[in-house]
């Protein structure tokens, strides 16, 4: 009647993912409790003003609803979650409903008492943002003097309570070469880490954060570093030998866990067995695909999840049917994201420049001769690319 899984080898996890994808069960939910924050990170995509966050009662009602429809993995994030005075009430309810709870935080407000409370409640994991082991670099990104020192002081408090801590380090121009220091820091702390090359536009589509995004050329030293494996989470020496360790990507918006065979021909998990809830009750397929399928102040989660046209459309998409990317010869090197395709290229089904550039770099590093993405192949000489404005204001097609 029972089976004990080895999720590292993934039999139970793969079955669970396959089942939830097939039946569209929202296995994982990423719930941002606030966009308010006590840091002002230069690359952040959020508007930190409070435009009417869900109340405590509304948050608890949401938890009841998503428990009923089968959510197991629940990640609370923000903004900074510890700015919610009702955080522990929300966490207590989440655990009463038997969710597997993960947190994302900058840990500035973590105290010994709060760390102990997290443990008492049964929170399993906390992902802490660290941009460098150098305070000058880290604090320049967060715009809070002393923030690295405070964050690093909090991590031992969490570890002492037995919480699983993971460092998350988005890489951008300001800290591009700091990743080695973060890796060493993680090693010293005995925790896993994740490096993330994704810097996204603001949720309203404006591009401010993109000015901090490293170019593909600037990323080359990172992509070439043999110590990294395509910037996926690294196991620590302690976790590496444990076949039962849960995949670190679960419930994380940083890595998708898309390595499961169960996702097969799907662009990603968004809308299939995972989704995102904003502090204002909007339900998105993913934090990186901010197209509201509905709002929990007006509709029940189950009604949105099972009947929203936006989610039904998303579920119909198959990788093999993507108009450009399905024909791409270097698709295996690409980490195309439907949300970024929409935010950066205006078409969730389309190719977008950043993904193509990175795929070409990775393919080149892997030894592929002259790799060209399908998007760039279409733009090759001899193909009409775009109209060019004449001096007299008329347009003429140009052969590029």
């Amino acid at each position: 009647m029972s089976a004990t899984a080895q999720p590292g080898a993934s039999p139970v996890m793969d079955r669970l993912i396959a089942r939830t994808v097939r039946k569209h069960r929202p296995l994982s939910v990423h719930f941002d409790l606030t966009y308010r924050c006590n840091e002002r990170c230069v690359h952040c995509y959020l508007d930190h003003e409070n435009h009417g966050e869900l109340t405590t009662a509304e948050c608890l009602a949401v938890l009841e609803e998503i428990a009923k429809v089968g959510t197991l993995f629940l990640t609370f994030s923000g903004g900074e979650i510890f700015l919610r005075p009702d955080l522990f009430e929300i966490l207590a309810t989440a655990r009463r409903l038997h969710f597997d709870v993960s947190l994302k935080s900058n840990a500035l407000l973590v105290t010994a008492e709060r760390a102990a409370r997290l443990r008492e409640l049964g929170v399993r994991r906390i992902q802490v943002s660290v941009y460098s082991d150098n305070p000058t670099v880290h604090d320049a990104i967060t715009k809070v003097a002393g923030s690295l020192q405070r964050t690093l002081a909090a991590i031992p408090l969490l570890l002492e309570q037995g919480l699983q801590v993971k460092l998350a380090c988005p890489l951008m121009k300001e800290n591009l070469m700091a990743y080695r220091g973060v890796m060493a820091l993680a090693e010293r702390l005995g925790v896993p880490y994740v490096l993330d090359l994704t810097i996204t536009p603001m949720m309203d589509g404006s591009g401010g954060p993109l000015t901090h995004r490293a170019s593909t050329a600037e990323l080359l030293p990172v992509l070439q570093d043999p110590a990294l494996h395509a910037c996926h989470a690294q196991a620590t020496s302690e976790t590496a030998g444990r076949a039962e360790v849960l995949p670190p990507s679960l419930g994380s918006g940083v890595t998708s866990g898309m390595d499961s065979f169960a996702y097969d021909d799907l662009p990603c998990s968004a809308g299939h067995n995972s989704c995102y809830i904003s502090p204002y009750g909007d339900v998105f397929p993913c934090v990186q695909l901010p197209q509201a399928a509905g709002n929990l102040r007006r509709e029940r989660f189950g009604d949105i999840w099972y009947h929203a046209p936006r989610l039904e459309q998303l579920r119909a998409v198959r990788e093999s049917q993507l108009p450009v990317c399905s024909r791409c010869e270097i698709r295996a090197y690409c980490e195309r994201c439907p949300g970024l395709a929409w935010m950066e290229g205006g078409d969730m089904l389309g190719a977008y420049e950043r993904a193509c550039q990175l795929a070409e770099q990775k393919a080149k590093l892997a030894g592929v001769a002259n790799p060209v993405s399908a998007l760039h192949a279409r733009q090759a000489p001899g193909v009409i690319q775009a109209p060019v404005k004449r001096e007299n204001g008329a347009f003429m097609p140009r052969l590029n």
């Binding site: 029972s2 089976a3 999720p7 038997h98 969710f99 597997d100 409640l121 049964g122 039962e244």
Partner: protein, 101 residues
């Protein structure tokens, strides 16, 4: 009487778990291990409330599914043994932290 029969048992309060389409997935955060229960295992899991003994659970199983009382008891005790060994169950009244009340 076996140790298992002595019961009653309660779910380890540190666990996360969810029944999804008649099967139950259980995560043991301290062990960082995932377990799954099939339909009958899930049935019993839901009935484990810190009060019921193995015999009482087996009676519920026999009443719900077409199985003899003897087979139901043997299956129930085997499952309880597995769950206790995996620390998914603890003696009733012995665990208070980590979770759901």
């Amino acid at each position: 009487m076996s140790t298992i029969s002595n019961g009653p048992w309660q779910k380890n309060p540190a666990l996360a778990w969810r029944e999804i389409d008649d099967e139950t997935v259980i995560i043991s955060p301290t062990e960082n291990v995932m377990h799954e229960l099939n339909e009958t295992g899930s049935f019993l899991w839901k009935k484990i409330d810190g009060c019921r003994t193995a015999a009482q659970l087996a009676a519920l199983l026999a009443a719900e599914y077409e199985v003899t009382p003897g087979a139901a008891l043997a299956d129930t005790e085997a499952l309880l043994q597995q769950l206790v060994s995996s620390k998914l169950l603890v003696p009733a009244g012995t665990a208070t932290s980590g979770a759901p009340r």
